[in-house]
Every structure is written in C-alpha cells, then in structure tokens.
Amino acid sequence: MAAGEPQPAALPLAPPRRGGRRSSVRSWRRGDQLIFALAWIAGLGLCVVASAIVIFLAVKGLQYLDPKLLVTRPSAAVNQANSGGFLDPMIGTLTTAVLGTLIATPLAVITAVWAVEYGRPRWLAGIVETSIEMIAGTPDIVIAIFGLAFFQLGIFAPFSFRASGGGVYGRSFLAAGIMMSLIALPLTYTATRNGLRAIPRHRREASYALGKTRIATIRRVLLPSLRPDIATGATLGMGRIIGSTAIVVLLLGATLQNIPENGVPLLGFLRGTGSTLPSYIFFNSPAGEGNAPQKAYAAAFVLLMIVLALNWAVGRISRIGASGSAGTGRIS
C-alpha cells in the first residue's frame, strides 16, 4: 500500500454499532462472505455428520439388537439364527481394556514423573521422550505385526501356547494386552506430563521447605493433585484400546469364541485366543468371513455406547480437574 495515501472511506464515522459482528457481514467483500458461509457450513456439517452416524447406528442397532445377543456365545453357523450373540467379544473387549490399561498406566505415570521431576542425565530424559514420541507415531498395525513376531519367539511360549507343530503360536490375550498397552502409553504419558508441568513451582518448594524429600513430595503432594490428569489419560488410552482392531485381528487370533488354553483357570484364559467387539464387527462385515451385517450393526451399536460412556467419563473427570486447583482440562 502506498504511503500517505488517504484510506478509502472504510472507517465509518458513526459510533460503532452494538449489534455484534453478524449485522455487518453484508458489508464484507464477496470472497469473505463466501468464506463466512463456508465456515458455518463446515461447523454445522460436522454436527450433522456426527448425529447422522449416531442416529443411523442407533436405528440399525436397536432394530437388530436382541437382548439375547448380549448373553449368548457366538458360534459358526450358516443360518444367522443359530450363530449366537457376542458375549465372548464383550468379555474380550473388557479383558483387553483392563489388561492394557493396567500395564500402561503405571508405566506411563512413572516414566512421566521421572522425566519431569528428575530427568537426569538430560540426554537419557531426551531419549525417553523421543521413544515415547516414536511409539505415538507408530501405526497400530505396525505394533501388531511386531507383537506377532515378538511373541512367536521361543522364550515367550508361556505368554501364549505351543501349536501342535512345536512352534509358539504367539496369539493370546496376554500378548494382545501387552501390545495394546503400547498404544495407550503415550496418551497417559502426555496427560501426566502436562499435568506435572502445570503444577506451579511454589507448591513443590513449600513441600521441600517442610523438610520433605523429592520422592515424598511426589507421593504426597504432586500425585494426589495429578489424579484427574492420570484418570483422563488412562480413560483416553482405554478408548483407543477398545477401538483398536488391527492388534486384535493379528494378535488375539480373532477366533469366534474365547478359547482358553488348558491350565490354571484365569491364566489359561489369558493365554488363550479370543475376540473383541471390533474384531467381531470386522468378522461380520461383508469384508470378513461371517458376513452378517445385522449382527455387525448390533455390535457396532454396543461399541458406540461404550465409547460414548467413556467420552462422558473423560468430560466429567476433566471438569472435576478444572474445578480443582491444578488440573488442565483441555480437549485432545
């Protein structure tokens, strides 16, 4: 713009209007009006897409969801009336979610606490941070294919079982749970780390001034106020575990029923193969072998309800955290 040139009459001399911005949209340039309209369309479009998905699945799901499906075990049958429900996949989903979260949460919290509160030597802390970032950037399918090769190594036979030929099968609830903890790990780690960083320095110093050691400060002062952050991270991680399909298809065997490996009751179950709701949906979609869309819709509806419940829980936890003193309630 040339210097000194008088501005065209863009600035009105009248007192600024109080009616807000929208009343002035008509005076904008054509292009700006277009972008403005597109922004509205995009925002409302997302709402429409989300509600369309939820309503569509609710209609289809409730149409096909028979309470009997929830309590009968799946079985292979050509006639869909006899192929059972999805009790086993629901138990499988619960097992992998609990197993993965139980492994991931302590690891993530301890790692984050060490990296933020101690972090010496610095290069080591840098390596830890980078490796967490690497696992966050690694696609699920790569984690799955790695786990398959890893648990087929001879020394990991106790985690699954030996196939008849003597090779280690490498697919079990334990293997899947351990690998799934890897996809939950970065979420819990990031939540804990950000929570720790948000705690003001003077709270630590107050604790040191009372004669507490660093570890006592962490245990008695920092961790209690981190609870909402850890809970948010763990719930987000659990959501990802529940939705993960690739790991189940490759590492849990995605057998129709949960087949315990003979042995001690609980351990045998964990060493056995099974399925979860996502793998059940995949199996029953036209892309899978079952090809029973009605059952896939019903299972998808149940899965969506679980995800909605988790979402609600995350929202609640972060709201509690935000009303407390040290929480950082952000989305994403």
């Binding site: 501005q7 600035l11 911005r21 904008w28 700006d32 922004a39 995009a42 925002g43 997302l46 709402c47 897409v49 989300a50 998905i53 569509f56 699945l57 301890i110 790692t111 606490v113 060490w114 390596i127 830890v128 980078t130 490796s131 967490i132 970032e133 690497m134 696992i135 950037g137 690694t138 696609p139 399918i141 790569v142 294919i145 790695f146 890893f150 890897l182 950000n194 660093r214 570890i215 006592a216 939705g243 993960s244 399909t245 690739a246 490759l250 996502p278 995949f282 979609s285 036209p286 892309a287 896939a296 819709y297 998808a300 899965l303 995800v307 909605l308 988790l310 979402n311 929202g315 994403s332």
Partner: protein, 327 residues
C-alpha cells in the same frame, strides 16, 4: 515387602528406581524398531532401493512368494512396492487436503462466529467423532457408501468399459478418501481450534481496529500466527491416515491397482491398496520367509513415515511456545 514399601523412600533410591522403569520403557520401544528393521533386512539387502519402484503386477508378485522354500533364493524376494506406496500417498494426501480445508473453516467458525450454544455443542461432537472406533467407520463405509456409489454413481457402461481389467464395485478411491477425511478431520479441528483459541485476543482486536473485518483479521493475523500448529496438525493427521489398516481394507476394493487420473471420472472409483491394508491381508501368510520379510519392510516404511511425521509435528510447534500459544 509391603512394610518396606510403606516406609519413606530414600531420594536416591527412588530416583534410580523411577529412572530404571523409564529406561525399560524406552528400551522396549527402541528394541521394537530394531526388531522390525532386522526382519525387513533380507528384502532390502536383496532388492535395494529399487524395491520402492514400480514394475508389473504387485498381487502376482506377492502370490509368487507364497510356497517358496524355507531358505528362498534371492530371486524370491522380487517385489516392487510402488502400487502400495502410491495408494497410501494418494488416499492420505487427498484426505488431508480435504480435511484441512474443513477443519480450518470449522476452527474459525468455533473461535469467531459460533453462537455460544453451537460452540458448546461442537466440542463434544468433535470429541465424539475423534473417538468413534475406526472399524465402525469401516462398517458404515462398506454397508452404506460402497453400495450407494456402486449402484448410483457408476453407470453400467462405465463398469463394462473396464471389466476386463478391474471390477468397479463402488469400493475404491472415492469412498476411501471420504471415510478417511471424516476420521482425521476431528483430530485436526481439535488441534487447530486449541491453537487459534489461545492467540491473544488483543492481536485480533488490534487488526479489527485497523479496519479489517473480523474474518480478515482472523485470516491475516490469527491463522498466520498459528501456522506451525496447522502444519503440526496436518502432520499428525497424515500419520493417522497412512497407518489406517482395517478401514481401508474394508472399503478400498479388492486388488493393488493404481488409480490413473487419465482415466477420467472412473479414476475416482478405481480400487487400490495401501501398505497398511496389505499387511492385514497378508498376515495369514506370515510364515513364508520371503513374504514375511516383505511384510516387515512395509511395516518399517510405515513406522519410519509415522515417526518422522510425529517428530516433525513437535519440532514445528516449538516456536509457538515462545508466545505460549498451544501447548
């Protein structure tokens, strides 16, 4: 044992223990990268970088690897992965371009224009869209979109014209890109909205006071200030899109064809295959040595790209910390 745990810990001992756990986590992850790389090594040692090139029919090459002996000759490793790489780049690239446009507009809408009620509605909506499991998107794609495209958008004449090369069922590029876009848009929107919302309000108001209308002010000041966050969001979304296996396995069509833009409108409906969905597809044959090495080579390529994108997104975001925009 419990008694000892309950007693106050010495600070040095605690530091060592916590550090040890952190190191175990890091070592496990690094080990994984090394392990995948080792498994992929035979492919790269036999084929070199021409493995990335294109030649011939990929499906035939993969099928030729099944039933090779336990110690396959070097020739058994022959594979040209370009069709898969092309499929991955094409779907992820298009989805990110569309998704970026939508999420920029949505972010502007949320921060500047949305009435209070709509804004409060949009936050949970975006969180919901981001957390719907991918297999549910895949199910909707294969049961709703694929039949719709196959029955209404592709004419019988178009199907007949390519019948001797490929089958047009509706599963293909268009449906894959639509589903991927819906999957990655919420992630980008959440990140960009966060960044845009933390731009100091005074910057925006200053621009408005200088005579810009609010939209121009957002575009020229706020969006410009958060450019790094936009790049970071796009990088994360790309990482998600290239790693998506199940969904693309369901809706991308049967074979590793490379959609050709010169085919005109049919281009949109041509089937394709991505690296991730090929891994799912071939995982049953993982006991074949040559094929196993190829599968791990696909995985290595995916992991490398994913890790690079994730690191890029952090490095790019770093300058923003100075202004305390975004985290």
């Amino acid at each position: 044992m419990l008694e000892r745990l309950r007693r106050p810990w010495g600070d040095n001992r605690a530091e060592r223990w916590l550090g040890a756990v952190a190191c175990v986590t890091a070592i496990a992850i690094v080990l994984m990268v090394v392990f995948v790389a080792l498994r992929a090594w035979p492919t790269f040692s036999h084929e070199g970088l021409s493995w990335l090139g294109s030649s011939g029919n990929l499906d035939a090459q993969v099928n030729a690897m099944v039933n090779t002996s336990a110690h396959p000759p070097a020739s058994a490793y022959f594979l040209r992965a370009w069709p898969l790489i092309y499929g991955t780049l094409l779907t992820a690239g298009l989805a990110v371009i569309f998704g970026l446009a939508v999420s920029l507009l949505t972010a502007i809408f949320i921060v500047d224009f949305a009435p209070r009620g709509v804004r409060q509605l949009l936050t949970p909506v975006i969180r919901l869209l981001a957390s719907i499991p991918s297999v549910v998107y895949g199910l909707i794609g294969i049961l709703v979109l694929v039949p719709f495209v196959g029955n209404h958008l592709i004419s019988a004449g178009e199907k007949a014209s390519v019948a001797n090369v490929i089958q047009l069922t509706g599963a293909g590029l268009a449906v894959s890109v639509v589903i991927l876009t819906v999957m990655i848009t919420p992630i980008m929107t959440a990140l960009i909205t966060d960044a845009l919302g933390s731009v100091p309000r005074a910057w925006h108001e200053g621009a408005v006071a200088l005579g810009l209308n609010p939209l121009r002010a957002t575009i020229t000041v706020s969006l410009r200030a958060v450019r790094p966050a936009i790049v970071a969001a796009a990088a994360l979304a790309t990482a998600r899109a290239i790693g998506e296996a199940i969904v693309l396995d369901m809706v991308s069509g049967g074979n590793a064809f490379t959609p050709k833009p010169q085919d005109g409108l049919i281009f949109l409906f041509e089937p394709l295959r991505t690296l991730a969905s090929e891994i799912i597809d071939q995982s049953e044959n993982i006991s074949e040595p040559a094929l196993r090495s190829s599968i791990y080579a696909f995985a290595l390529l995916l992991m490398f790209s994913g890790v690079m994108l994730s690191i890029t997104s952090r490095l790019v975001r770093r300058p923003l910390r100075k202004y305390e925009i975004s985290n």
